[in-house]
Symmetry: C2
Subunit: 228 residues, 2 copies
């Protein structure tokens, strides 16, 4: 039982022990009020999953986005809430005022990391799909997050395979000199030294890769295994 | 029934009609694969709510954060997933490389709007708590979002009341000249012309304000009313 701290024509607010408020007599709202913020743990409990940032890195055409979106489908089917950050929703929005200079690439990855951190805090299984060629930039993002919240997934599909696929015709343009500073052609890619998972998509389907990732998330306790 | 497109020692991937894949025989994963992205509508269905951005604006001390966090508690208690973007998680993270010049304030709000848009797309009831004093900046955010996804909540608590509260001692510092460009003291606040809701927190408790906001979200179809 608490102490009434405020009364209106159709409600009463009571303050209980331990910073707890109760509103009663309001039609269809029996809400217990709490001071302070809802925690990440409370959101995770609601979602029945734990927040995590799965950072896909690798050359253009190495399978990052396809695997991310395949994993997303698999997880949604199991009732998990996911979100994929990629060029489509970042480069035309949050980072539309950034170019491709070394400084801008660095800021691009930093902002994506910070947004990823917010999504993890909100409890979502968050995936990012960006070439993110520089080790230092990826390590900056890793350092932003708590240990166990960041999984670096290195898509190390050989450039010859990526170039054969070339879904957006970018390698062709880069080889023709129409595109400057293209990773793998005239700009370096620095492979992760200790990625949580490495996937060569040459002979592995997106579905197989997604199954591996689901297992990784189960093992890490981010999602629960399905009942047998 | 589909056509087997890939087989492994303990799995088989079938392609069905209409771009649908099924993986069978993998232990405890009977997943139907789909091409393309999971849509906002699918996430909203999972969450049993609709994504929305509630943009609180008003002077320092006008009640923005307190109301936002009170609403958050009320919604979480009803099983809804929310997230609050505020100075604590934005100014020290995503926007830590921005200052308080007119240009930086504009970029500050732009980035918050873009992040809010991503959260809305992910299906969350998203709240932002920033003074956001300039009308043009707020209108830029409104224009980013689809009609019906943006609710501008104007906390128009009079400056005398805000100044009496002064939870962070900022008005005192601003009046003493120790803080320059402080909104309401030596920097303008441009009130919204057509806010979706106006709250004067002088005589309205955060709990009463939250009840109003819950009603607003129910009326807009963003959350379902509780059963009577």
């Amino acid at each position: 039982m608490g102490v009434a701290v405020k009364r209106g024509p159709d409600f009463e607010i009571e303050k209980g022990t331990n910073k707890e408020y109760s509103v009663t007599k309001i039609k269809a709202t029996n809400i217990t009020w709490h001071e302070g913020h809802v925690t990440r743990q409370e959101r995770e409990k609601l979602l029945e999953q734990k927040g995590v940032l799965i950072w896909f890195t690798g050359l253009s055409g190495s399978g990052k986005s396809t695997i991310a979106y395949t994993l997303e489908h698999a997880l949604v089917q199991r009732g998990h809430l996911c979100y994929v950050l990629d060029g489509d929703n970042i480069r035309h929005g949050l980072n539309k005022n950034l170019g491709f200079s070394a400084e801008d690439r660095k800021e691009n990855i930093r902002r994506i990391g910070e947004v990823g951190k917010l999504f993890v805090d909100s409890g979502l299984v968050t995936m990012t799909s960006f070439i993110s060629p520089y080790r230092a930039d990826r390590d900056t993002v890793r350092a932003l997050l708590a240990p166990g919240d960041f999984f670096e997934v290195y898509c190390n599909t050989p450039i010859e395979v990526c170039e054969t696929r070339d879904p957006k015709g970018l390698y062709k343009k880069a080889r023709a000199g129409e595109l400057k500073g293209f990773t793998g052609v005239d700009d370096p890619y620095e492979p992760p030294l200790k990625p949580e998972l490495t996937i060569d998509a040459t002979n592995v389907s997106p579905q197989e890769a997604a199954v591996k990732l689901v297992e990784m998330l189960e093992t890490a306790g981010k999602i629960s295994p399905l009942a047998a």
